[in-house]
Amino acid sequence: MAEQVYRLSKSEYELLKKMQEKGVTEGYIEEAAEKLNVEKTSLASLIMLLSSKGLAKIDEEIESLAHLTDKGLKALEEGLPEEKLVKLLIEHNGSLDINTIRAELGNESGIAIGQAKRKGFITIEGNTVMLSGDPKKILDDLDELRSALRKVREDPSFEPPGELVKRGLIKIKKIKRMRFKLNVSPNKILEKSVVEVAKLSSNLISSGLWRRVALRAYDVSAEPPRIYPARKHFLVEFIEMLRDIMKELGFIEVRGPIVEMELFNFDVLFQAQDHPAREIHDTLWIKEPRRADLTEYKDVVERVAKIHEEGWGYKWNPEIAARLLLRSQTTSVSARVLTQQPEPPIRFFTIGRVYRSDVVDATHLPEFHQLDGIMGWPGYTFRDLIGILEEVARRLGLKLKLKPGYFPFTEPSVEGYVQLPNGKWLELFGAGLFRPEVLEAAGVDYPVGAWGFGVERFAAAVLGITDIRDLYTRDIGKILNFKIKLI
């Protein structure tokens, strides 16, 4: 048989220690608490816990405590009302008119007559009240009641005659008192005890006390407090993932201005100056300054003028090209890069914000990110371009479908659709080989492929976000609670 081990909480252990020291193993809670110098209530609950472990026995006693009411005090000092009546009758030779009695005893006269009559001390004939029986014997009886009142005043535990309680001279209060007795001596318990603790503390470990304690089992299925780690933003994470893919594919990151000249946003890209995309409904211009200085780009301007005038058959206007707008496509960055005529082979990419004249709703933002990649070298072909789209889609884990497309600055042009995990096809890539007009405007003599896509719509589809505005939420709760999706 296994040896009896007593599992104790830390406070139970400490109480037993005190009991052992002070030799208090039984008694009323109040008294024991005083002796042990502990809180009455905590002692009571600890004794109950010990009793639930079978280490203590608890008896509840109900005690009556009597005390005199105001009426009782008065009766003790002045005599009971019927006593007063009997004494009055003795003074008047055993009989008196009832009205005289009322006058003498006041509002006590009713009780006095009632009590005296009930006890047979008096008889009443008409209006006359007469003493009946031996006056000495009567006074002795009454004295007994008086002394009971006195005893109650001296000792609340004295049990008074019921009559006094009934008449409201004495009140009885019943008190529950808890008595306990340990079933096993503190020595024995402590000898074989193990202390249970909720939290393992540094103290327990460094003192070695942990060896003597028991680590209480928890309700491991209970819900813990809710806490949130600081989070990276899911849209930024998505963009960083794209950056990584581009870097892995050997692309060098570049940047271009957000506030851009129409020259790079449209003209170098062979978009005619009367093209609908350049109208007020589709382009966001800035208030100040309206135009940039083209002097720095003299060569580009000359080539662009020639190409537009030959290609579109109109008089090209540098004033329009100089206007400053919020770029509508990151192809403007690619256009800038090309005008710097980099040595082939080239692989550049940019991820940046672009701006549109759209009213904000669940599917439209006035600004969003675009990824734009360009690559090229002598001998670069359309099949190389399709290859990069295939590769990017493959690294995103998505299937690709091609469709001929139209962009003013590429030919052949292609649109790439990707199949999302939910089976739906999303129009993602816009791509193509830069038109010869664009390459001539930039001054580049090798073929260049360009491709890109809008990030937000793609990110929303992949992340399962139905309202695109949630990508730019101000509600931190939405970021802290965002469920991670991996593709």
Partner: protein, 550 residues
């Protein structure tokens, strides 16, 4: 992008294909299509105005299917109609033609109007560059037409009306007049272009036609006028229309003699040009070896006329193919005829390593550190409300000339207003609220410039300068950056509780401080806030310069 909507039955009949096959072929022709109720909705790229009508779509589909090759000029007769032009200065060019046996029924009338509208909206630049009038030939009062600049007092019966009005009244009182009345109005002379048939005005281009020549179901033959500001486009649009209408059974063209001060011309011109490509050029562009037969077959199926001349392939695109500018445009057609999916691809080979911008690399480090310090990342638009910038005292900023919504009509010159608006949204969130953003700001200038910044914000029951200072110092010390600190003032901060950090060569690296309660009150934020804004680009320059030294 133009979207057509029409009943697909005719297309099914003209192509002999099922609806599914049609939709599949349209996809290969750059067009996405969807069946909505009984109608087919087709999205068409603006480079192919010849496809804005079922007849044009059927022609292209039948070509791609190999049912027709190349393009044959339709029958043309001299109509005997003549047009005298005294060119209005605001809209000098006109071309006109007749198409006989168009035989308009209710469905076709709808499609024809749609065709006209789509042409107006795209190649016509919303009627500025080109506008089209289509009339019932039999209702023309006279074979003699005149296109002139007319006084606004001249009268006409506008479409959908029966009474006569002066041109002035039509411009002022009809919805068409209000919408398009200013395009070609000559305000100096008080005139407007008008097209007469005999003594009746049948159109005031680009605004409205006369009700006299209105089209209706039952109209057999049509007279078409195209006016505009660009001669070549005017003629091309007429070519597009007549070549689409002559796709209808029995239809043929009647030409019109036009007398201008420069001389006489007969329209439609149906001009074509000739391009020369070689097999090598096709191979070089697509990266695919193709036989001469395959190339000529592909060009034929995209309706180009092809002849072979020694090593060259001589191509004559149909006159409606306005998108064919250079050789590459033909090469795309070859790829389309072959099918993009059948071209195959070259898997890219990575020969040299890729590289991220210094600020992109540094941002990743900064994000790690901020997360480690318990800041959650937010990201906000660069477009911001000017009111928020006024509240936070950022008055130097770039504003948009033609914004769509006031809330998005300025570019943020600092990240601090963005983060304060995030804080305002999270006043009731569990404290402390600690957020950061790495994003673009735009500084005014000539031209304005954008810069990558990072901002950190703490909002709590009690929070102060030291809290944000500790975070910033922690980041900068881990980055091993030398910096100096000095008191600064900006109305966004409490006086005496703001500092700026400088690199040892004096560039401003960061500002930080406690936000002025006057601003907090305006933003209805009842908690103190400390905030910092770091210039990531300065930090990146400094960091990479000093790192490279070691």
């Amino acid at each position: 992008m133009p979207v057509l909507r029409f009943k697909p039955e005719k297309l099914i009949k003209l192509t002999g294909l099922s609806l599914d096959e049609i939709m599949e072929t349209l996809f290969k022709l750059k067009c996405e299509s969807e069946l909505i109720d009984e109608d087919l909705e087709v999205e068409i790229n603006p480079d192919r105005p010849d496809l804005y009508i079922s007849e044009g779509l059927a022609r292209a589909i039948n070509g791609l299917q190999g049912k027709r090759k190349g393009w044959k000029k339709p029958k043309i007769i001299d109509s005997g109609y003549s047009l005298e032009v005294r060119p209005p200065s605001t809209r000098p060019y006109i071309a006109a033609a007749i198409v006989y046996n168009v035989n308009i029924d209710e469905d076709f009338l709808e499609e024809l109007i749609q065709f006209q509208e789509k042409l107006h909206d795209t190649i016509g630049r919303r009627r500025r560059k080109v506008a089209i009038g289509i009339h019932d030939l039999d209702k023309l009062p006279s074979k003699n037409l005149r296109y002139i600049d007319e006084s606004l007092d001249a009268d006409m019966i506008p479409l959908d009306d029966t009474r006569r009005y002066s041109i002035r009244q039509v411009l002022e009182n009809t919805t068409q007049g209000q919408k398009y009345g200013n395009i070609s109005l000559n305000t100096d002379r008080g005139t407007h272009p008008a097209l007469y048939s005999g003594e009746e005005i049948i159109a005031i281009p680009p605004v409205i036609n006369s009700n006299v020549t209105r089209l209706e179901p039952g109209t057999k033959h049509v007279f078409i006028d195209v006016t505009g500001t660009h001669r070549e486009t005017v003629n091309k649009v007429l070519d597009i229309i007549v070549t689409a209408l002559t796709e209808r059974e029995g239809a043929y063209i009647g030409s019109i003699k036009i007398y201008t001060p420069q001389g006489e011309v007969t329209t439609p011109l149906l001009t074509t040009k000739t391009l020369r490509i070689t097999r090598q050029l096709v191979t070089q562009t697509l990266g695919l070896e193709l036989s001469l037969e395959s190339i000529t077959d592909s060009l034929g199926r995209t309706l180009h006329n092809v002849t072979i001349e020694e090593n060259s392939i001589i191509v004559t695109p149909a006159p409606f193919r306005v998108d064919i500018i250079r050789e590459v445009d033909l090469i795309e057609d070859i790829a389309i005829a072959l099918g993009y999916e059948s071209l195959g691809f070259n898997r890219p080979v990575v020969e040299s390593p890729g590289k991220l911008l210094p600020e992109s690399r540094l941002s990743r480090v900064l994000r790690e550190l901020a997360i480690g310090l318990g800041f959650t990342e937010v990201t906000q638009l660069t477009l911001i409300s000017p009111k928020l910038l006024d509240y936070t005292h950022f008055h130097e900023r770039v504003e948009i000339l033609n914004p769509v919504q006031y809330e998005y009509s300025a570019l943020r010159p600092s990240l601090i207003p963005s983060l304060l608006s995030v804080a305002a949204k999270n006043v009731h969130a569990r404290k402390p609220v600690k957020v950061f953003e790495i994003g673009m700001i735009v500084k005014p200038g000539s031209p304005p410039t954008d810069h990558l910044h990072m901002a950190l914000l703490i909002m709590d029951d009690e929070v102060g300068y030291e809290d944000i200072q500790a975070s910033v110092y922690s980041i900068l010390r881990i980055l091993d950056v030398d910096f100096k600190v000095e008191p600064t003032s900006h109305p966004v901060f409490i006086t005496g509780r703001a500092a700026r950090l400088l690199t040892s060569n004096g560039e401003e690296l960061a500002i930080m401080g406690e936000v002025n309660p006057e601003i907090l009150e305006k933003l209805e934020i009842s908690f103190p806030i400390a905030v910092a804004d770091l210039d990531v680009e300065v930090l990146a320059r400094w960091k990479y310069k000093t790192s490279n030294r070691h």
